[in-house]
C-alpha cells in the first residue's frame, strides 16, 4: 500500500511547470471572497479568464480525454494540479462549474458522438459555464418526483416549471437538467436529460435568500438561484441519452455528486484553524485550556478520517477499482463531520467562531462561514438520509441484490 502523493522526477518537473504557469497566469485579484455571496463581478471575470487559460493548457479538466480538450493526465499529475491550485488559494476548476465537474463525465458516458463533440470541448476549454438544475420545490430527496416538463413540439421541446438551489452568481451560459418528458409515464421511465442554453427566451433567474449563499463546491461561487421556465423552447438535439432515459443518465452525475469520485486537498479551513490555535490572539492562546486541546485532537481526527475516505474514493475512481457504498459514505461523512467539526470549533474558539467582524472574526470570517455552511451543506447532493439509503442498497442490507454504482466512465 502506498499513500504517497510524492513526486517522481517527472512529477517534480510537472509541478514546477504548473507552479510557474500559475504564477504567470492567475490574474491579480482572483482570490475568493471569504463569503461566496460576496463574489464580485470582477473576481468572477478573473476566474473565467483563468478558466479559459487553464482550458487552453488542457488542465481545466485534467481527467477528461484529450480528444475533447481534457488533459487525460494520470492521477498523480491531477493531484499536483489540485495541490498547486490549492496553494494559490483556488480550486480546480476555479469557479463553480457543475457542467465540467459532473455534466461532462455524464455526457462522456451517455452522449452521442455529436453531443461529445458539441458540448465537451467548450466545457473543457473553459469557454462555457454550466449550471446543474435538479431540485424543485416539491422534489428534493425524491428527485425522480420532479414536475418540470419538457413536451415535444416539432424540432423542440417546450419546458415549463421551476428549479431551485441552482448555480451561483453572475450567470452561466448553459445548464443541464432532468425533466419530465412523459407525464403519463412510469416513475423513473418518464424523464429526460437536457443541455440548455441559458439565453433562451422564457428563462428567469431569481437569487435565493439562504443561511449561506453558496454551499456546495465551496469555491466562492456566489448565491443560489430559483430558475423559472416559461415555455422555453430547447432544440431536440440537446436531449442526451435518449428520451425517457434521463434517470439512468442522472445516476452518473449523482454518483459524482455523492462523492463517488473522491476529492483531494480539501481541508482548507480546518488546517488553518489548527494553525490559528497555535498562535496567540487577543492576548491569549486557546490551547492553554486542556479541554480545548482535547477537542482539537478530536476535531483533527474527524478531519483525518474524512481526508482518508476522500483519498480512498479518489484512488478507487481513478483506478477503476470496484466501488459500492463508498461514494455515499464519503458524502455522509463530509456532511456529518462538517457539522461536528463546526461545533468543536465553537467549543474551542468560543463566540469568536460566530463573528465575521473584521477585528474579531478568526481567519477573516472563514470560521463564521464554516459554521453556517456546515448546516447548509447538509442537503445539497442529497440529504444524509438519502446517502444512507444509497449505502444500504449498495451494501445489500436486507436485500439479495446489491444496487450497482452509477457509471463513471
Amino acid at each position: 500500500m502506498d499513500f504517497a502523493i510524492e513526486d517522481s522526477a517527472e512529477q517534480s518537473t510537472f509541478r514546477e511547470e504548473v507552479r510557474v504557469w500559475l504564477k504567470e497566469n492567475i490574474p491579480e485579484g482572483t482570490e475568493f471572497p471569504v463569503d461566496p455571496g460576496d463574489l464580485t463581478l470582477e473576481q468572477y471575470e478573473h476566474r473565467r479568464e483563468l478558466g479559459r487559460r487553464l482550458g487552453d493548457q488542457s488542465w481545466l479538466y485534467p481527467n477528461m480525454p484529450t480528444k475533447y480538450g481534457g488533459g487525460d493526465l494520470p492521477v498523480e499529475k491531477v493531484v499536483i494540479l489540485h495541490e498547486e491550485m490549492g496553494r494559490a488559494g483556488l480550486s480546480l476548476p476555479p469557479y463553480y462549474d457543475a457542467g465540467g465537474r459532473m455534466a461532462a463525465p455524464t455526457i462522456l458516458v451517455w452522449g452521442s458522438e455529436e453531443h461529445k463533440d458539441r458540448f465537451l470541448p467548450e466545457i473543457c476549454k473553459g469557454r462555457v459555464r454550466s449550471w446543474q438544475l435538479l431540485t424543485e420545490p416539491g422534489a428534493g430527496s425524491d428527485l425522480a418526483g420532479i414536475k418540470m416538463t419538457a413536451i415535444r413540439d416539432g424540432k423542440d421541446y417546450v419546458l415549463n416549471g421551476q428549479k431551485i438551489f441552482v448555480g451561483s452568481s453572475h450567470g452561466a451560459e448553459q445548464s443541464w437538467t432532468v425533466v419530465v418528458t412523459d407525464p403519463e409515464g412510469k416513475r423513473h421511465h418518464n424523464l429526460s436529460w437536457f443541455m440548455i442554453p441559458m439565453d433562451l427566451p422564457g428563462i428567469t433567474v431569481v437569487p435565493m435568500n439562504l443561511l449561506t449563499a453558496g454551499g456546495e463546491g465551496g469555491s466562492g461561487c456566489g448565491v443560489k438561484n430559483t430558475i423559472f421556465f416559461d415555455d422555453v423552447r430547447v432544440p431536440a438535439e440537446n436531449l442526451v441519452g435518449g428520451e425517457n432515459n434521463g434517470w439512468k443518465v442522472a445516476t452518473t452525475h449523482l454518483e459524482m455528486e455523492h462523492g463517488g469520485a473522491g476529492r483531494l486537498g480539501e481541508r482548507g479551513v480546518i488546517k488553518e484553524f489548527i494553525d490559528y490555535c497555535q498562535d496567540e490572539h487577543h492576548g491569549h492562546n486557546l490551547l492553554e485550556s486542556a479541554e480545548a486541546r482535547e477537542t482539537l485532537v478530536d476535531l483533527y481526527i474527524e478531519s483525518e478520517v474524512t481526508r482518508l475516505f476522500a483519498i480512498r474514493n479518489y484512488w478507487m475512481a481513478h483506478n477503476n477499482h470496484p466501488r459500492s457504498y463508498e461514494g455515499s459514505q464519503y458524502s455522509l461523512r463530509r456532511k456529518l463531520s462538517g457539522l461536528d467539526i463546526a461545533e468543536k470549533i465553537l467549543e474551542i474558539a468560543g463566540p469568536y467562531a460566530l463573528t465575521n467582524d473584521e477585528q474579531y472574526g478568526p481567519l477573516k470570517g472563514a470560521l463564521e462561514l464554516y459554521g453556517r455552511e456546515a448546516i447548509t451543506a447538509l442537503h445539497p447532493g442529497a440529504t444524509t438520509d438519502i446517502q444512507r439509503v444509497i449505502m444500504s442498497r449498495r451494501i445489500g442490507i436486507g436485500r439479495q441484490d446489491r444496487e450497482k454504482v452509477g457509471a463513471l466512465r
Binding site: 431551485i164 443561511l211 491569549h284 467549543e347 468560543g350 460566530l354 448546516i375 447538509l378 442537503h379
Partner: protein, 373 residues
C-alpha cells in the same frame, strides 16, 4: 411530588403563548432580526405593560415577585419564538444581579424602572479573554476623586445595543466590582458584531467616569452576589431554550406530516422519525433538569449541580435540536423566510452565554465533590 404547573403558571403559559403567537409572529421576528436592537419600542411597551419585566422583581421594588419557576414559564414561551431582545438581560439577569448586589437605595432607585420597562439593563461581563470566571475580568475601574474611571473593552456582551444601563464588572483596587453605567455615557461605544449571532456586541470604554454612587453594593465584593445571581438566572435561560426546542419539535412534527416525498409523508421514514426523536430527547432532558433546578432554587436547596447540568444540557440540546431540525427540513430549512434559521442563529448566539456546556460540566466536578472546590 407534583410535577404539574400551578394555576398561576398555567395562566402565564396560556396568555404568553397567545401573545407570542400573535405579536411575535414569524414575519415580525424576521423583521426584528434585522434591527440592531432586536425590538421595536411598540413591542417593548406592550411587553412591559404585560408586566413581564417585573416578574423577577419583588413587589417592594415595583415588580410582582414571582418565583423563578413562574418566570421560567414565561421564558419558555418566549423561547418558542424565539423572541429576541433584551428581556432576559434586563428583567432576569440584570434584575437578579442588582437584587443580590445592590444596596437598598440603589434597588429603590433602579429596580422599579426595570420592572416598568423604562430602564433596560445589559450585563457587560466578558472580555477578549473570553470566559465566565473571575479570572476572565481584566478591565479596571480606577478610583479618581469621587468617580471611578473605566477603560477597556467588553466583548460578546448581549443586548447592549438596546440597553439604557450597563452593569459592568471590573477590577478595582480591592477586587471585582460592579458598576452601573449609562449606556450613552461619554466614552462608551457599542458595536453590534456581525455574523452568525444576534444582539451580541463589543462595548468599548474610553475614560468613562462613573460616580461612586453608581458603584453597585460594596467595592471589590461583587463577585459572590453576581455569581449567585447567575445561578438563579441560568435556569430561566435554560427554560427559554426548552421552549425553543419545543418549538423546533413541533415544527418538525408538522413538517413531517405535510411534506411528501416518494409518495408519502416524510415522517413515515424511520430516519426522519429518528431526527425528531433526537430532538424530543434533547428537549425533555433539558426540560426536566431545568425544572428540577428551578424547584431547588425556589425552595432554597443547594442547586449548584442541577443548575450546571441544566445549562449544559439545554445549550447542547438547543444547538443539536437545530441541527436535527435542519436534517428534517433539508432545503426549505435554510431559506430565511421559513424561519428555522432564526432558531439556528439563536442557538449559536446563546451557546456560550452564561457559560458553555464544557464550562458547566467542569464546574460540576466541584459541585459533585470530585475535586476540592
Amino acid at each position: 411530588m407534583d410535577l404539574s404547573l400551578t394555576e398561576t403558571q398555567q395562566l402565564i403559559q396560556d396568555s404568553t403563548r397567545d401573545f407570542v403567537r400573535n405579536d411575535f409572529a414569524k414575519e415580525i421576528l424576521l423583521d426584528l432580526d434585522e434591527m440592531p436592537a432586536l425590538m421595536t419600542s411598540e413591542l417593548w411597551t406592550k411587553v412591559s405593560q404585560l408586566g413581564w419585566m417585573g416578574m423577577a422583581i419583588p413587589e417592594e421594588y415595583g415588580g410582582t415577585g414571582n418565583t423563578l419557576t413562574d418566570v421560567a414559564v414565561l421564558y419558555e414561551e418566549l423561547g418558542r419564538g424565539p423572541v429576541p431582545g433584551p428581556l432576559f438581560s434586563s428583567g432576569v439577569l440584570g434584575a437578579l444581579i442588582l437584587l443580590k448586589t445592590a444596596n437598598s437605595s440603589q434597588k429603590e432607585a433602579w429596580l422599579p424602572g426595570i420592572a416598568d420597562g423604562s430602564r433596560i439593563l445589559a450585563v457587560a461581563a466578558t472580555e477578549k479573554h473570553y470566559g465566565w470566571s473571575p479570572a476572565h475580568i481584566a478591565m479596571t475601574a480606577r478610583r479618581n476623586g469621587e468617580d471611578y474611571v473605566l477603560d477597556g473593552t467588553k466583548l460578546f456582551v448581549h443586548d447592549a445595543a438596546s440597553a439604557t444601563d450597563l452593569l459592568v464588572l471590573a477590577k478595582s483596587e480591592s477586587g471585582i466590582s460592579l458598576l452601573r453605567v449609562d449606556a450613552n455615557a461619554d466614552g462608551i461605544a457599542i458595536r453590534v458584531l456581525p455574523g452568525f449571532l444576534s444582539g451580541v456586541t463589543e462595548v468599548t470604554f474610553e475614560n468613562v467616569r462613573v460616580p461612586s454612587s453608581d458603584l453597585v453594593g460594596i467595592e471589590g465584593a461583587a463577585w459572590a452576589g453576581y455569581d449567585a445571581a447567575l445561578q438563579s438566572a441560568i435556569p430561566v435561560l435554560c427554560a427559554y431554550k426548552v421552549g425553543a426546542c419545543q418549538a423546533l419539535f413541533e415544527l418538525c412534527v408538522d413538517y413531517s406530516k405535510e411534506r411528501t416525498q416518494f409518495g408519502q409523508p416524510i415522517g413515515k421514514f424511520q430516519r426522519v422519525q429518528d431526527h425528531i426523536i433526537h430532538i424530543v430527547n434533547y428537549l425533555d432532558a433539558a426540560r426536566w433538569t431545568t425544572n428540577e433546578a428551578l424547584w431547588k432554587l425556589d425552595t432554597g436547596q443547594d442547586a449548584a449541580s442541577s443548575v450546571h447540568m441544566a445549562k449544559a444540557l439545554s445549550s447542547d440540546g438547543y444547538l443539536r435540536s437545530c441541527d436535527f431540525a435542519h436534517e428534517v427540513h433539508a432545503g426549505i430549512g435554510v431559506m430565511r423566510e421559513y424561519g428555522l434559521t432564526l432558531h439556528t442563529k439563536m442557538s449559536r448566539s446563546l451557546y456560550h452565554c452564561l457559560g458553555a456546556p464544557k464550562f458547566h460540566r467542569k464546574r460540576m466536578e466541584g459541585a459533585l465533590g470530585l475535586v476540592q472546590a
